[in-house]
Symmetry: C2
Subunit: 229 residues, 2 copies
């Protein structure tokens, strides 16, 4: 990418792991958080791990949003609508909102291995309803576990990317393939995000049941279907 | 397995492929169909492919049900409730109904890459409501594509098995691991079947989009989580 990537909610383990991986890949990354100081401290940790050449900084979420056209949402579902409403005035046409949010029932005190029904079909489609015109929404990264991202070595997981904007989908597949080990796959329209979100709940259940950190690989597609190693 | 397996709807590509794989593994398999003659003809085809030692036969669905305590449902969703109502008097306590049914929107003229909402949560949970007391229901095999099953060589796909009956789940994981290449994984309670069913719709979409025959592998779990190679 030549563009900076803002990871909003990037002080949480999922966002932190993605920011780490992109910083390792040489991308310019801004960690966003409600608290600018926590964002800066997360950025410092990544700099320590990646090295002084890492292009990483931290900022309050809305400020981070103003600094990048590639925005990744890695926030708990209970903060999803509130953050999008807060970001709305800062979102510029032409920017891409990449939604990794999963509507886990844990958001309302239920289990992390179950999801809530979202009226629009998925958290990502909810996002599509809340962004201004001209902003593309892409669903991705729901199924890459934080533990895999924060561990050493390549990530043993594919990323299925869903969007109604073909060009934005292509950009995000390239971005996903920048995470070592990840292969990105075009999963079609944004409406399919509901399935990606459900898969996360299944994986969380598997992790609890089997005491592991599961990933998912899609087999059987022709090589051209995969972006990445 | 020491018990015969009846594959109901086994003249369709999915059931045929599973019957073929189990016959290859030396299991005793009965193909069930609405039409006994079509069932017999499918069994003959499998015998030709596997060899004269194959323990495979064909029968009308209810007759097939009477011959086995391991029953696999591989039928289109539009025939799901009707078949279960028909089978009910023939289902004996202690038997296991393995449901591979996916409520694709294609059942009502929609797309095969979308699902219908099922009141009980999933086709498999609908089955649980329709079987007599003492019959265990297990959800499995939704994500193993017919093309993979009917091709040569090992199947590049994992089978997640969900059931509220721990013993029945264990039996079905062994059965699944009898399909060359498959690793079976305990996916927890039957309620999780809804996610397995959704995954099939995603995979059908990927197959159409990328012109392939996709499978799914779960990575990152400890070796003990996988039954099979």
């Amino acid at each position: 990418m030549t563009q900076p990537i803002a990871v909003l909610g990037g002080t949480g383990p999922e966002g932190f792991g993605l920011a780490l991986r992109w910083a390792q890949a040489g991308e310019t990354v801004i960690i966003g958080s409600r608290d600018a100081q926590r964002a800066q401290s997360a950025a410092d940790k990544i700099k320590q791990r990646v090295g002084a050449s890492a292009k990483i900084s931290g900022a309050e979420n809305v400020v981070a949003c103003g600094l990048a056209d590639l925005l990744v949402l890695t926030i708990p579902f209970e903060g999803h609508v509130a953050l999008l409403k807060q970001l709305k005035p800062a979102l510029r046409p032409g920017s891409i909102v990449i939604d990794a949010t999963v509507p886990l029932a844990a958001s309302v005190g239920g289990r992390a291995s179950r999801t809530l029904g979202v009226w629009q079909g998925s958290a990502a489609q909810e996002t599509a309803e809340l962004v201004p015109a001209g902003v593309a929404v892409v669903a991705a990264f729901q199924n890459v576990g934080a533990e895999m991202l924060n561990a050493e070595g390549p990530v043993d997981c594919d990323v299925v990317v869903c969007s109604d904007d073909i060009e934005a989908g292509r950009t995000v597949r390239k971005l996903a393939a920048g995470v070592a080990g990840v292969r990105a796959i075009d999963g079609g329209k944004l409406e399919n995000a509901r399935i990606l979100e459900q898969i996360t709940a299944l994986m969380i259940g598997l992790n609890i049941r089997h005491k592991g950190h599961s990933g998912i690989r899609i087999t059987g597609l022709p090589p051209a279907a995969y972006v990445g190693p």
